[in-house]
Symmetry: C2
Subunit: 260 residues, 2 copies
């Protein structure tokens, strides 16, 4: 079962190239931390990644909040991803009919398809949305994380919705890398990665309904493979040392999880 | 009841300034047609609107599919909106936690808050998402269309989801202008506008699961106040004459609806 299996072992089982690559990075760098780089200035993001890049397996972006976006930023982002060996997830939460999503993914100012290893997608519009993506762009592998649950209070995702999302992924397993969710008990397949946002060192909330759980809760109780931390690191006085604290806490939970 | 009431009458009842303005435009211009300007070039969009602007009450944009986006485009778009008296709906389908949506709405390259009279928002993340918006920006009114249903095949919206979305709107009636939905039987309040996409002159489908209904079906049977037409006009040989055909068909249905 997924929960008890090591990342190395799962990398061997994974068919999807992006899943394999991500699990190998996690095992090699000994980190299951994803940084959510939610800043609005390119220089601030790049200097954050310069400091934190070595501690994470993945960087999650919201490219559409950046105020001084330019193509050179993408070059530098890719350079840092190579230098520190992390993957990039653009957290776009595509949520339209397939025809529109195809245009949003391939066109526009941000040209997400060209640089994002993975993107997040809502299953809400039905499986037609997955037809907007392919497993590779110009010969380079691409992956999709489907949102099976959300971290925010009062969200409208039901148990049936989550189940339908997991079923959808089984049909598109060449494309789907895993799920963004809170509780992975229904994700049995070790080839899918559970990505869990809403993580801080203490239980808390923000003013817009975001709900936080601790590393122990998300990795040991809820089955997270990768934990997403945004403000817990980005808003810290010293993001680098805070990232190390999260990395170590999360990794320790993972080691405990697979060893007993 | 909403269905039998004229747009003029509803404009008088509406509290929300954007709802009032939209209903007045519809009554004055005698059109309930919204053009979905889904093109990827600024010059093509502007020339389309030059030809079609007088026939529509609203233009719906996907700003993030445009390949040569620039700030001057926004100036010209606003100029056309003034010249032809239509409102602009940016169909962003915001779908994240409130804190992230607030950044996506206010920041980034597209600065949606500055120019879009209205935006589309998914209720999926829960009511915290509505806290990311306010009823006015720099003293100018702003509105939100909540997605209560989708047009695409196999979408995961349940009856409970739709009901929860309508309940959410009642709590934020200073902000919510109406609903994007297929069947407005549960929208009783004449102060909310029903916006219905997936409209063509004949029943059809696209390759990504989009489903089309006719003007008669959407206005007379399903209760649409404003019908959204994209490819039905944009991909026509002569978009202007096609827009006139849609405008007249849709208006005739509305007149029939309120008169019997
Ligand atoms: O259910 C979700 C899904 C996602 C990712 O798809 N997120 C994102 O994680 C990040 C959490 O940031 P935080 O740790 O600062 O709350 C934000 O970028 C938010 O948009 C959530 O916060 N909740
Ligand atoms: O449920 C929905 C909701 C929306 C709008 O929020 N849309 C949008 O209407 C337009 C329909 O275009 P079409 O007439 O070319 O299919 C597209 O921009 C699509 O993104 C839909 O097609 N279905």
């Amino acid at each position: 079962d997924r929960i008890k299996m090591s990342y190395e072992k799962r990398a061997e089982l994974a068919q999807n190239p992006i899943t394999k690559q991500l699990l190998n990075i996690m095992a090699t760098k000994r980190t299951n931390l994803c940084l959510s780089a939610d800043l609005t200035s390119t220089t601030k993001i790049l200097s954050l990644l310069e400091n934190v890049g070595e501690h994470v397996c993945m960087v999650k972006t919201h490219i559409d909040i950046i105020e001084d976006f330019n193509d050179d930023f993408l070059v530098q982002l890719k350079h840092l991803a190579d230098k520190f060996n992390f993957l990039i997830l653009e957290d776009r939460k595509f949520a339209d009919i397939g025809n529109t999503v195809s245009l949003q993914y391939l066109k526009g100012m941000y040209k997400v398809a060209e640089w994002a290893d993975m993107v997040t997608v809502h299953s809400l519009p039905g499986e037609g949305i997955l037809k907007a993506f392919t497993g590779s762009i110009n010969g380079v592998s691409r992956g999709v994380f489907l949102l099976a649950e959300m971290s925010s209070q009062g969200n409208l995702i039901s148990a049936e919705y989550t189940k339908a999302t997991i079923d959808m992924a089984d049909k598109y397993s060449d494309l789907v890398t895993g799920f963004v969710c809170q509780n992975g008990e229904h994700i049995k397949n070790p080839a899918f990665i559970q990505l869990t946002p809403g993580v801080q060192l203490i239980n808390a909330e923000d003013d817009f309904g975001q709900v936080y759980n601790t590393p122990e809760t998300v990795v040991l109780e809820k089955g997270a493979d990768v934990a997403v931390v945004g403000r817990g690191i980005v808003a810290a006085k010293n993001p680098e040392s805070q990232a190390v604290i999260y990395k170590e806490a999360l990794w320790e939970c993972y080691v405990k999880r697979i060893s007993n």
